[in-house]
């Protein structure tokens, strides 16, 4: 089962690194924001997967909750700031 989680971790890291292409090269600023949103959502899965590999899920799931809240709030704030 640990090999499965390691493979899942590599796949999610490939997803995040390919999103950095859209963040760097995106034609408008909204494309960059969209790519950052996808990175933030995938990072929650990466954190819990690292928790399963280390067998300390009870610590990493709290970090995942805080990351989800902060990512959502920063997305909303940046969208309100850019719409003015």
């Amino acid at each position: 089962m640990e090999n499965f989680f390691l493979t899942l971790l590599v796949g999610l890291l490939i997803v995040v690194i390919s999103m950095l292409y859209r963040v760097i090269k995106g034609p408008t600023v909204y494309d960059r924001l969209n790519g950052l949103g996808v990175v933030g959502t995938s990072t929650i899965l990466i954190l819990i997967t690292i928790g399963f590999i280390d067998e300390r899920v009870d610590m990493f799931v709290d970090i995942a909750i805080a990351y989800a809240l902060l990512g959502f709030i920063s997305l909303i704030v940046l969208a309100k700031f850019l719409s003015d």
Binding site: S18, R22, G37, T41, S42, I48, D58, A68, F72, S83
Partner: protein, 100 residues
Amino acid sequence: MVNYIAIIFILFGFFFVSVAAIGVLRLPDFYTRMHASGKSETLGVMLTLIGFVIYNGFNLVSLKMMLVSAFILLGNPIGTHAISRAAFYSGLEPWRKKDN
């Protein structure tokens, strides 16, 4: 047996997450990219978290994972809607097919 069910859920979730990533990379316009990341990403993350909950069993950590899942279900479409609303009000034109 429980591990196999969890693996099936996690693989379906990772399939939807990678489909969202391919859509954000390949689609031609900002609004179509939002369409890819808004729905497919939410479904993929929720399926993967349900797989994690099935693998972990029933305790407080699983309850926190279900809390993250419910928060993603509420928060991800709202964030997508806010960004695309900001883009539309700032005058970004949707993509159209070229006339011949």
